[in-house]
C-alpha cells in the first residue's frame, strides 16, 4: 500500500512537472500582454509533433536522440512563438484582451488541423531524453523518461526564474510587463520584450510537448486539455504569479493521479473542477496570493 502510494506520488509529480512547464509559458504571456493565449495547449501538442518530425531527420544510430531533439524543438518552437506574436498579438495591440483570446483560438484551430493534415491523425511517440528503462528506487520504480521530465522541468523553470530575477534582461522583461509606458519612457523596447516573451513561452510549450510526447504520446487534438490544465494552474496559483502557477500545476498533477487511484478518473476530474470553483469563490486571489497590481 505504501509502495503503491509512493509510486502514485512519483507519477503525480512527473505529470505535475510537465503541467508546470506548460503553465509557466502560459503565465509568462499573461504577464507580458495581459491576455490569455488560448493556443498555448496546441503549441504543446505541436512541440510533440515537432519532436517526432525532428527525430525523423536524425541518424538512426544516434545515441540518446532525445538530448538533441529537445533543444532543437525548443528552438523551432521559439520561432513559432515569434510568429504567433506577429500574426495574433501585434496586429491587435491596444484592443481589448478578448480580441487576443479569439485570435489565439483561431491559431489553435489552425495548429490542430494543420497538424492533422501534415502528420495524420495517429498518435505518435517522440524519442526519450535519457533513454528507455526504469530506475528502481526501492519503494517506487521510476521510468527514465519520468526522471527526464522532472529534471528538465526543474532546470527550465529554475533557469527562467533566475533569468527573470537576476539578469538585466530579466528586469527589463519584467518592467515591460508591469508598466509598459514607464518601461518605454526609460528606453526599453517594449515590443521587442513582448516578442521575446512569446518566443520564450512557446519554446517552453515546445519543450513540454517534446517531453510528454514520449511518455504519453501525442495526437493532433491533445491541445485543449493542456491549455485547460495550464489555465487552472494559473488561477489556483494566483493570477500572474510564476511560482504560484508552477505550484498550482504540480498540485493538479498530484491531485489527478492520487484521486483517480483512490476513487476514479471521473471523480478526479469532477473534483478538480469542483476544487477550482471553490478556490475561485473562496480565495479568488488564488491559493498562493495574486501578483500585486496584476489583477485582470
Amino acid at each position: 500500500m505504501i509502495d503503491a502510494l509512493a509510486q502514485l506520488t512519483v507519477n503525480g509529480i512527473a505529470l505535475g512537472a510537465a503541467y508546470a512547464l506548460a503553465a509557466l509559458g502560459f503565465v509568462l504571456v499573461i504577464n507580458a500582454v495581459g491576455a490569455v493565449n488560448f493556443a498555448h495547449g496546441d503549441f504543446v501538442m505541436a512541440g510533440g509533433f515537432l519532436a517526432v518530425a525532428i527525430s525523423g531527420y536524425l541518424p538512426a544510430d544516434l545515441e540518446l536522440p532525445g538530448l538533441v531533439v529537445l533543444p532543437l524543438t525548443m528552438l523551432v518552437a521559439a520561432g513559432l512563438g515569434l510568429l504567433l506574436s506577429l500574426i495574433a498579438y501585434f496586429p491587435l495591440r491596444g484592443r481589448p484582451p478578448v480580441s487576443v483570446f479569439i485570435s489565439t483560438i483561431a491559431v489553435a484551430i489552425i495548429l490542430q488541423h494543420g497538424t492533422n493534415a501534415i502528420f495524420g491523425p495517429a498518435p505518435r511517440a517522440a524519442p526519450p531524453v535519457f533513454g528507455d528503462g526504469q530506475v528502481d528506487l526501492g519503494i517506487a520504480s521510476v521510468s527514465m523518461q519520468q526522471v527526464a521530465v522532472i529534471v528538465v522541468a526543474a532546470v527550465l523553470i529554475g533557469a527562467v526564474a533566475l533569468v527573470l530575477s537576476r539578469t538585466r534582461f530579466g528586469r527589463r522583461l519584467r518592467a515591460a510587463a508591469q508598466d509598459p509606458e514607464m518601461a518605454e519612457a526609460i528606453g526599453i523596447d517594449v515590443p521587442l520584450m513582448i516578442a521575446v516573451t512569446f518566443a520564450l513561452a512557446i519554446s517552453l510549450a515546445g519543450a513540454t510537448g517534446a517531453l510528454l510526447a514520449n511518455q504519453f504520446f501525442v495526437s493532433p487534438d491533445d491541445g485543449g486539455n493542456y491549455m485547460l490544465k495550464a489555465y487552472i494552474a494559473v488561477v489556483i496559483g494566483g493570477w500572474g504569479r510564476i511560482h504560484g502557477a508552477v505550484l498550482g500545476a504540480l498540485l493538479i498533477g498530484m491531485f489527478e493521479v492520487v484521486v483517480a487511484a483512490a476513487a476514479s478518473y471521473v471523480v478526479a476530474e469532477a473534483l478538480l473542477y469542483g476544487a477550482l470553483l471553490a478556490v475561485l469563490v473562496l480565495r479568488p486571489q488564488g491559493l498562493f496570493g495574486e501578483a500585486e497590481g496584476r489583477r485582470a
Partner: protein
C-alpha cells in the same frame, strides 16, 4: 439609404454564396461521409482510405465518382454532410461514419432519402432500429465482444477479469456487451473503470485493477489510451494477459510500443490485413501502403469490402439507391476479410478473430477465428 443598399448587397452576397456549389453531375455517386478531424479521425481516416481505394478501382463497366466530406465530431456536422451529399449528383450509397452517434443522426435522413449507408461502426443500436438502409461491414459489438470475452475466459482462463474502457460511444457500447457476456460465461468483471481520451497517466487504473486482484486486463479503448495502458502495466511489472479491443490491432497502436511490451497482448478484430497471408489481402495491403503511406487496419478493409460489395451490385445491374439496397440485403459477397451476408437487420459481418503479439515484432499473429458468433450468447 446608402446603408440599406450596402446591407442589401451584403445579404445578396451571402445568399449567392449559399447557393453556390450545387451543380449537378450525371454519373453515379458514392459520397464518403466520415470523421477525418477530431478525436475519432484515426478510425475515420482508415474508413476514408479503404473507401477511396475501392472507388478508385471500380469493376469494368461501372463508373462512379466520389467526394469526401468530414463529419468531424458532432451529429450536426454529419447531418449537414449527408444532406449535402443527397442534394448533389446521384448518390446510390454512402460510406458513412464509424462514429455511432453520427450514424444515429444520419439514419432517419438516409431512410427518408432512400440512401443505403455503408459503415464499419460497431455500435449495437444501429441495426436494432429496424432501418433497412444501414449495412454494417464490421462485426458489431455483439459479435466481437463474444470473441473478446470467450477468448479471455475459455482460452486464457480468466476468472477475475478487469475492464478498462473509454468514455466514448465506442467504449461505452463495447463495455456493456463485454460485461454482459463475461457474466454469462461465469467470469463477471471484478473491476471496471472509465477513461476519458484526455487521461494520460494510467497508473491509477492499473493500481486499482491490481488491488481488485484481477487476473486479466480487458481493454476497450481507442488507440492512444490502449498503448498507454499496455506500456504502463508492463512498466509497473504487471504481467497479466491483456486482451484489448480492436484499437490494439491497428498498426499505428502497435507502432507506439516496443515488441517486449507487446508480449502477452492480444486483441479482437474483424481482420488484420497486415497479418493475412492470402494473395488478395497481400495485394490490397501493398496497394494501400503505396497509396496512403500508412498501414491498413480492419476498419479500412471493412470499408473497402463494403464499397466493393456496392460496386458489385452496380456491376450486377443495380441502377439506383433502391437497387443497391435490395441487392445488398439479398446477396452474399465474398470480401477480403470475410464473407458478408445480411442477417436481415443490416449486419453483414458475423466473424471475428483474435490476434496476439508474441514479443518478437509489431505484427500480430491470428490465433483464433470465431465464425458466425453473433447472438450465440443472447
Amino acid at each position: 439609404m446608402r446603408k440599406i443598399i450596402v446591407a442589401t448587397a451584403q445579404i445578396a452576397f451571402l445568399a449567392g454564396a449559399l447557393s453556390s456549389g450545387s451543380a449537378l453531375a450525371e454519373s453515379v455517386d458514392i459520397p464518403i461521409l466520415v470523421p477525418i478531424t477530431g478525436f475519432i479521425s484515426l478510425e475515420g481516416t482508415a474508413q476514408r482510405n479503404g473507401a477511396v481505394q475501392a472507388l478508385e478501382t471500380p469493376p469494368a463497366g461501372v463508373s462512379v465518382s466520389y467526394e469526401v466530406s468530414d463529419t468531424s465530431t458532432s451529429p450536426e456536422v454529419a447531418v449537414n454532410a449527408l444532406r449535402r451529399a443527397i442534394s448533389k449528383g446521384k448518390p446510390v450509397a454512402a460510406a458513412a461514419s464509424i462514429f455511432g452517434t453520427q450514424m444515429l443522426a444520419m439514419l432517419p435522413i438516409a431512410k427518408r432519402a432512400g440512401l443505403p449507408l455503408i459503415t464499419v461502426s460497431g455500435t449495437a443500436k444501429l441495426t436494432e432500429l429496424g432501418n433497412p438502409y444501414i449495412f454494417r461491414f464490421f462485426p458489431g459489438d455483439a459479435v466481437v465482444k463474444v470473441a473478446h470475452a470467450r477468448y479471455a475466459v475459455e482460452e486464457l482462463g480468466a476468472k477475475r477479469p478487469a475492464i478498462i474502457y473509454q468514455t466514448t460511444s465506442y467504449g461505452q457500447s463495447g463495455r456493456a456487451e463485454l460485461a454482459r457476456i463475461l457474466t454469462k460465461l461465469g467470469a463477471p468483471p471484478v473491476f471496471e473503470e472509465a477513461l476519458s481520451v484526455k487521461v494520460k497517466d494510467m497508473l491509477p487504473a492499473i493500481t486499482r485493477a491490481r488491488a481488485a486482484k484481477a487476473d486479466m486486463l480487458l481493454l476497450h479503448l481507442h488507440s492512444g489510451s490502449t498503448a498507454l495502458v499496455v506500456r504502463q502495466a508492463r512498466g509497473a511489472g504487471w504481467d497479466v494477459p491483456i486482451v484489448a479491443g480492436s484499437a490494439m490491432h491497428q498498426p499505428t497502436t502497435a507502432a507506439l510500443l516496443r515488441p517486449a511490451e507487446l508480449k502477452g497482448v492480444c486483441a479482437e478484430s474483424a481482420s488484420s490485413p497486415i497479418s493475412e497471408s492470402t494473395a488478395d489481402v497481400k495485394a490490397f495491403t501493398a496497394e494501400f501502403r503505396k497509396r496512403f503511406k500508412t498501414e491498413p487496419d480492419a476498419f479500412a478493409l471493412g470499408q473497402y469490402d463494403g464499397i466493393r460489395m456496392v460496386l458489385a451490385a452496380l456491376k450486377d445491374g443495380a441502377k439506383d439507391a433502391e437497387g443497391v439496397r435490395a441487392w445488398l440485403s439479398s446477396h452474399t459477397h465474398k470480401g477480403l476479410a470475410m464473407t458478408y451476408k445480411s442477417d436481415g437487420k443490416g449486419n453483414m459481418a458475423h466473424d471475428a478473430l483474435i490476434l496476439c503479439y508474441d514479443g518478437s515484432g509489431n505484427a500480430p499473429r491470428i490465433v483464433k477465428r470465431y465464425d458466425n458468433v453473433d447472438g450465440v450468447l443472447e
